[in-house]
Point group: C3
Chain length 307, copies 3
């Protein structure tokens, strides 16, 4: 493996290995404190994403490496008309590994084609965001002890949310998974995803508009933000954004070992009174995101630790 562009670039076995490494990093952070001494990560963010960027930077700094890059296209050479192909060839002279966020789908894959260093897709348009998927998988596995035989609820904007699509495709490779897809009619999972990822693999799924009725049978509830920037008009946004708000009250009906995930940032789709519930796992996700990115950087750089 040289790059990580699509979550499905990784086999189930590779994901298991990655998550095992991430678990070890979480358990023994000091062991990895100098694993990347002298290495450099470039964070090429053509659109801002503070949380993702800082997570990558933390991952590298946690291992003794250093960081450089840009935070938005307005401060990058892109404004002078440079192609992604040229930028990555230039950055290949600077850094050892690169995380790229780009508003255009496919830009990180194109960059990877011309790069001399490993490229990590840190989100390309509405397309892929593989390190978020790894983060989600690590969180589910660490909370429930497994990635198979789980009833997974996905709630909110299932049409535009790229993290939802990637998670569906990734979990569809495990046995005994079933999905409950909770969304307004207008924001259902696109049919091509259901047809490609679920139907051929015989994965049971159910589409519903009702969060409360389905909450009691879920093992995992993955909430998503209704992203304003994905809507075509303001009226649709206002009408739909409050449709699915999780509260402490509603959560009373859920299993004691349900876990609530959210890719963050949230606006109001999870009430703050849920935050102190031990089933709230969304800030654990943030912490796991750092470990997973550490594991990924180590793997892509081929770093071997002395025993």
């Amino acid at each position: 493996m040289k790059h990580l562009i699509d979550p499905l670039d990784l086999s189930v076995a590779e994901i298991d290995a990655m998550l095992n490494l991430a678990d070890d990093i979480a358990a023994h952070p000091q062991k990895y404190a100098h694993a990347c001494d002298g290495k450099k990560l470039a964070t090429l963010f053509y659109e801002p994403s503070t949380r993702t960027r800082l997570s990558f930077e933390t991952a590298m700094l946690n291992m003794g490496g250093s960081v450089m890059g840009f935070h938005s296209a307005s401060t990058s050479s892109a404004t002078k008309g440079e192609s992604v192909a040229d930028t990555i060839r230039v950055v290949s002279c600077f850094a050892d590994v690169c995380a790229m966020r780009h508003p255009k789908e496919g830009a990180p894959r194109r960059a990877a084609h011309f790069s001399k260093i490993p490229v990590i897709n840190a989100g390309d348009g509405g397309h892929q965001h593989p390190t978020q998927t790894l983060t989600d998988l690590m969180t589910i596995r660490s909370k429930r002890g497994r990635l198979d035989h789980l009833t997974i609820g996905l709630c909110g904007d299932l049409k535009f949310g790229r993290t939802v699509h990637s998670l569906i495709k990734s979990l569809a490779r495990y046995t005994g998974i079933q999905f409950v897809l909770i969304s307004p009619e207008e924001l259902r999972v696109p049919s091509y995803i259901l047809e490609e990822a679920l139907t051929p693999n015989g994965i049971p799924y159910e589409e519903t508009t009702d969060l409360e009725a389905n909450l009691p049978r879920l093992d995992i509830l993955y909430m998503t933000r209704v992203q304003k920037e994905r809507f075509f008009n303001e009226a649709d946004y206002v009408r739909l954004k409050d449709s699915y708000i999780l509260t402490a009250e509603k959560l009373k009906a859920a299993k004691p070992n349900l876990y609530v995930l959210h890719p963050l940032p949230r606006v109001n789709e999870i009430s703050m009174d849920v935050d102190d519930d031990p089933r709230a796992a969304y800030f654990d996700q943030v912490q796991n995101g750092v470990y997973v990115r550490q594991a990924l950087i180590l793997t892509l750089l081929g770093v071997k630790l002395p025993c």
Copy 2:
């Protein structure tokens, strides 16, 4: 102590200890060169302030730590509607200590409430800027050998200048202090500050519009910028901004051991011909600001150096 939000969060004894530590750092910088190895500072600047941000970053880098963060709200998740409470919980997974600059008063205190890591207020609106106050106190103490029994002149915009308000409140806790408050009528110190900080403690003060007449009796002259962004209309700004300009000529009438401070940036309120006068202490302030921030970070992180 867990956070530093308001300069008065620190007792006089705590300030003394902090300044003693800062003095030791200034005298023996190498002793602290690895005091924060492996530690990370997050600089969360919701509005730009290059000087303050770089001072914090220098402080951390001087002790072997590393730095991450954002420089303005436009490149942060704030644009996606994330609350300060969520942002700090996320950043708590990334960094060991955080410096927050925010245009809204109270934002750093709210962040501290939700944070798992120490939060330092790096300026919140027109409200508080405690590390500037520590810097000012260190500079006065190092130049004059004490923080008591001094006649302190404050000149310029005394109405909107938050550094002035914090300095008044902090110095009011020492004995033998008297203030000479030099400003245009329109920009006098707000009465609630005089009533809260000076009157009950019996601190003598005098309000005047005349810089030159009062210069000879001052031990410290604290100049401030007339900040354009604090004015409601352009005409007021133009009329008042040149009212109080300190020049080498005027300085002839001052004591030989007067020291001139300024929080910077200056525009033209101190003439450049003052810069080479040994009484000009405003660039010393910048250097002291780094030492004070090093001392603060060490204190908040609870770092103990081996003897």
Copy 3:
């Protein structure tokens, strides 16, 4: 030497020494991996230039140092009206060496005048960009083994391109150099440069509009971008920008040991089908730029390595 503002600040002997050091860094990077431990570089970029900034940052990080700064004027104190003189005095308290990019000609020289730390001009308006010139010289020397007795073709925008002007002046100090200046009539080298740098030194040069006819006799072809921002009107830009495009087809007529340089970013003046030709040296330039900047930082800081 204290600062580097103009490429001609360096004597031919100093340039030789700098390039020798850069060659040694390229050959033995590990030898320099801790040469700047504990040192800090400030990158003060009043206008964005990602490639140049990241090259400086890489140079410092490669030697164990750390980096701070700002990426554009909008996030700097310049917006509060601070002068370059004050900014550099402040930054002198923070960093050990500084690289400044500024839209105004002369700003880095003025900063150097007030600085307590070495200032490197990282580009000032259309004026100077000395580290680009060092990069160009290193690339020519490493590819051709020498800087004298070469026929140098310069092609594209020779009027506004500051890298071209600096390169002409620098190469004019070596013996046996001749120039072929290939440009549209409207974008010829300004006459004062020819009169100052070439005529008095008896350097032969030829001005032509024809790239193809002159390609066969060149030892070096230095291509430049037709920078949109230098044009006064859009129509002129559109008419001229495609005038000089180098393609693999055209390159067939060139010498086998011709080398093609370009300061990057390119838009379309070098076709991508040239990239895999061994004579394409523009990405080598990027790598050399890092080594040259490492050599420069070491020299300005007076770092001596233990043998």
